[in-house]
């Protein structure tokens, strides 16, 4: 997770320090995803998304729920080790469709810094599995250029 591990072009790593106990960080991440995931901009269903849900066990689904009750799967739970480690697959393809063969992986570790702080380390790996898709994906990201701005606005609102 640190820079000393060297650069891996197929992996994106992020670290965030949160002023919250490890159990709270775990519960918000896994149990209240709908409260912080940027659903306004990151979703795949046709219906407006109202929640993001992780089924709390290995093999559980990771999905968004639309306001019409529809469900669109994003991936599944590969490891479930409360309150310290979570591995998810993210199987959304370039065409914004669920593709269970894609399986990029997101590992999240929750490390207690002291009683009231948690270091959250996130690793999104196997990006090369986008292989054939990557430039098409970039085209989508860039044509939906407002996405970045929406996310910024969301982060500002959430932090206010």
């Amino acid at each position: 997770m640190t820079q000393t591990r060297g650069f891996d072009p197929n992996t994106v790593r992020k670290v965030v320090s949160v002023r919250a106990p490890q159990m709270v960080a775990w519960e918000v991440f896994t149990g209240k995803m709908g409260a912080w995931w940027p659903l306004a901009s990151y979703k795949i269903g046709k219906a407006p998304a109202v929640d993001a849900i992780l089924e709390p066990h290995v093999g559980g689904r990771w999905y968004e729920q639309g306001d019409d009750g529809s469900i669109c799967q994003w991936g599944s739970v590969l490891a479930w080790e409360p309150p310290s480690r979570l591995v998810l697959s993210w199987d959304i393809g370039a065409d914004w469709q669920y593709d269970p063969t894609l399986k990029t992986e997101i590992e999240v570790r929750f490390i207690a810094d002291c009683s009231d702080r948690t270091r959250v380390e996130l690793e999104h790996r196997h990006l090369d599995r986008y292989g054939a898709h990557r430039d098409k994906m970039r085209a989508i990201f860039e044509t939906e250029g407002d996405w970045g701005r929406v996310l910024e606005a969301f982060a500002r609102t959430a932090a206010a």
Binding site: P9, D128, M137
Partner: protein, 108 residues
């Protein structure tokens, strides 16, 4: 003016080329290996690879007498850059909500 993006779109606009790229997802392959099981001839596959290479979607390396084609990893840069920004924003939103929850917990 024809841009790099135009080349990429042209390259990906063809179903056979997308199929070729998909076959390379698992690792490098020779023209013969790529053509195996496909409904197009080997020369046709070579022609598609040429276009994919021009669009910087594949690389080619000589391994003895074989020429091995692989997905061009440099193409991942844009995806990485986008994901970096995506996770920065998403984790910032997570941090805000988690800290709010922690504050609530302290007040109880």
């Amino acid at each position: 003016m024809i841009t790099y993006e135009d080349h990429v779109f042209d390259a990906l606009g063809d179903p056979t080329r997308r199929a070729v790229l998909k076959r390379l997802r698992a690792g490098g392959r020779s023209v013969r290996e790529i053509a195996e099981g496909m409904k197009v001839s080997r020369p046709a596959v070579s022609q598609h690879l040429k276009i994919l290479k021009a669009a910087r979607l594949v690389t080619v390396q000589a391994a003895g007498t074989r020429r091995v084609y692989a997905v061009d990893k440099r193409g991942l840069e844009s995806l990485r850059k986008w994901l970096e920004g995506f996770w920065d924003h998403t984790l910032a939103a997570f941090k805000a909500v988690a800290e709010q929850e922690a504050t609530k917990g302290r007040k109880l």
